[in-house]
Symmetry: C2
Subunit: 252 residues, 2 copies
DNA sequence: TCAAGATATTGGAGTACACCAATTTTTGGT
DNA sequence: ACCAAAAATTGGTGTACTCCAATATCTTGA
């Protein structure tokens, strides 16, 4: 059993914005792609879609640009727009561990949750752009899927951004809690992924044999203004987790 | 010493197209970003850029959309467009091991190159959508940086796409050779990355101790029409290689 | 019947304008 | 001087149109 994707716990991913006019068109096209159309089948032309959906052709093009970037369609000038071969279409994006697990019919959860305020120290201080003597909130969790340990995670947040006691909320989504209570909304994450092996303590926490292969993911999360708001170190069992991604030759 | 990025040897990345009108604007903005502007400095407004470069505002927006996708700028409605914090800005894209090494002042190379035609078998056959009894070209290489082994790679290509003898060209870029001789141009790659440890043979090839942590990358490369044209299995030393990437909350 | 040229179709890029939402600046009142 | 409201600015989305390049289809002539 393997899992997939670069993820980050959802940060108010469901922030409501009024549906753009193009959303209905996108939905229609995605339905076509997901449903009955074979690979290399030709989609309706830009001009006919614009007429059918009462939108301008530029609006159609913007939706198709997006689907092309996602690798779901390819376009040939003078010919048309075609359905790509079916593959795993998840490009790199911010998705949720919890959502990911749920979409696979698994129940996400946490074990051994602990929460403390500690001085940042040199490394964490650099990552979060705070002084080494500043307080940060340290959260340790074992993330689970159907109660089986998947990931050992240490998160560090600048204390000044998260006053009060968070611990009661940490069985759910950390980021949902941060967004709801503090208005912290993540915009971007920088991640480094390393291959490693589990030391005996880590192996015990993850119910794996010592020195088993694992991924170490170090992440810094930034809000829309570029402030560093989270540093996390996460260890994933190598036998239960892998990354799958689609890489494109950039259209520009 | 660690290396970075998802890569693929360059496939004729320099295909020439006439410069679009927006290219001059992009170059100007990139110069600003690379040069004198500090993180969080405000860029000129969309309307002033449109006037200065005699383009429509939509054209400006398309260039800025692109720079935003690359993580080089962030935009705040009502405020302006700002320079992102300097980070490694390489989003996931098709770049080249050779280019990557060279950009770090290292010399890419290959050792122990071998080349043979073998039947595909079940797994490779599935990956390349050919019958298990079909011939594929199997290329084994140890990729090096400054003559130090970095990666043990096995590539498999459908034999019918690559008639003749490729071996003389395999010290350089495989993909450049494929593009120049056969017109094979890669458009997309699907990759799976796993955490593993090196067995004794693999460890010997990579000059590492047995059971050291490593990445195993399995890749299928597709051309623009969605044909599978390459399957590769690559083992990277975990102490000399890591992945760094920037993930965005998707604007749509 | 086949091949070459002409025409039509379709994606690619751009213009000029409109309106809306979010943020910043200015103005007026206390 | 400070605060609230109004106005201005700036990014976000969309319309309707134009012209160009690449491909597909049709027409004509040998």
């Amino acid at each position: 059993m393997e899992y997939t994707n670069f993820w980050l716990d959802s940060w108010a991913m469901t922030t409501e914005r009024p549906p753009a006019k193009s959303d209905q068109l996108r939905r229609h096209l995605v339905d076509l792609l997901v449903g009955e159309l074979a690979p290399h089948a030709r989609l309706p032309t830009e001009r006919s879609l614009a007429e059918e959906f009462s939108v301008s052709r530029l609006t159609v093009r913007r939706v198709l640009d997006q689907l092309e970037r996602e690798g779901r369609v390819y376009r040939v000038q003078g010919s048309g727009t075609f359905v790509s071969e079916p593959r795993i279409h998840k490009s790199v994006e911010l998705t949720s561990f919890s959502e990911d697990m749920r979409s696979r019919g698994l129940r996400p959860g946490s074990l051994e949750v602990s929460c403390e305020r500690i001085p940042a120290g040199a490394d964490i201080g650099y990552a979060l752009q705070v002084s080494p003597s500043s307080e940060v909130l340290h959260i340790r969790r074992v993330r689970t899927a159907d109660d089986e340990p998947m990931c050992l995670e240490h998160s560090y947040l600048p204390a000044e951004l998260v006053p009060g006691d968070l611990e009661p909320e940490l069985n759910g989504s950390l980021y949902e809690a941060l967004s709801a209570r503090y208005g912290l909304t993540l915009h971007r994450a920088e991640q480094t992924i390393k291959a490693t092996v589990l030391d005996p303590d880590e192996a015990r926490a993850l119910h794996a044999p010592p020195f088993s292969p694992a991924f170490l993911v170090q992440r810094i999360g930034f809000d829309a203004r570029g402030r560093a708001v989270e540093r996390a170190d996460s260890l994933y069992r190598g036998d239960r987790y892998s990354y799958q991604l689609t890489i494109y030759r950039d259209p520009q």
